[in-house]
Assembly symmetry: C2
Homo-oligomer: 159 residues x 2
């Protein structure tokens, strides 16, 4: 079990890419999918969830595409996660015992609720602009590695 669903991870990667191309206006989803090595249609569906939440603006037709509705430095990662996976991760008990712990919490209760709060803060603090800048300036990769790249990485362990 991963922390985030695949849809969510794809959505985050795409969001960072779109933010990094901000200056070019509306970016076609097909371009995003190609750069990130994802299925264009699948990605379209995922990004629609962001459009429906008014995080993204979309525009059809030639020169259309998507772009963020607000200043990307104001769009936090948790908004992307919330739109795609929902906020359960930040509100539910890890052990899923509904009603439990209200009066008589288990030994996990305090540490879990505290931990959940920190997790939430972590994603609340990160904004798309910073993440995108890092992609541009420090070379963070957003697409999965193909076989050749994995080999290159292994052979150049020294650096």
């Amino acid at each position: 079990m991963a922390l985030l669903s695949k849809s969510c991870v794809y959505g985050i990667r795409a969001s960072i890419y779109i933010a990094s191309e901000e200056e070019n206006g509306f970016i076609p989803i097909s371009q995003v999918a190609k750069e990130l090595n994802l299925s264009p249609h699948f990605l379209t569906k995922i990004l629609q969830e962001l459009t429906n939440e008014d995080l993204l603006l979309s525009h059809k037709g030639p020169r259309g595409g998507v772009k963020f509705a607000r200043d990307t430095s104001k769009i936090k990662l948790i908004e992307i996660i919330g739109a795609i996976d929902g906020m359960d991760l930040f509100t539910e008990c890890a052990l899923g015992l509904e009603g439990c712990g209200v009066y008589k919490p288990c030994p996990l209760h305090d540490s879990w609720t505290e931990h959940r709060r920190v997790l939430r803060e972590l994603f609340e603090e990160e904004n798309l602009y910073d993440l995108a800048m890092n992609v541009k300036n420090a070379g963070l990769r957003l697409r999965t590695l193909d076989q050749k790249e994995i080999l290159d990485l292994k052979s150049s362990k020294k650096k």
Copy 2:
């Protein structure tokens, strides 16, 4: 997306219950399933994963059942989680970008790896004995609420 799979949550609840019945020797899985309101066959499969990891001992036939192979105060929650969901949660990147961040981490990298470590410690610290004691002494519920119980809970908000 929850932190833990349903199988894992069921496995944890069952483990706590089994630990709380430790003194009664081998506990039939059917009894555990009944107490926890779970499918006996599904639970059997889940607990088999614990048996295969030598966390549980199992015994067939009349008076058979399962019990923990070691002192439950020495069995940490993370062992149950690892046997059922695996350790990916504690080893993988939240953004799932393999190879990324090795040389040039994204802004999330440090906070995520630190957070992951804390999460791991949280589950490494909790042992079944303590959790089971809490069930017995403080009334932690392990089974899901039925409709009536949910109503009772709501109507007695004051307490």
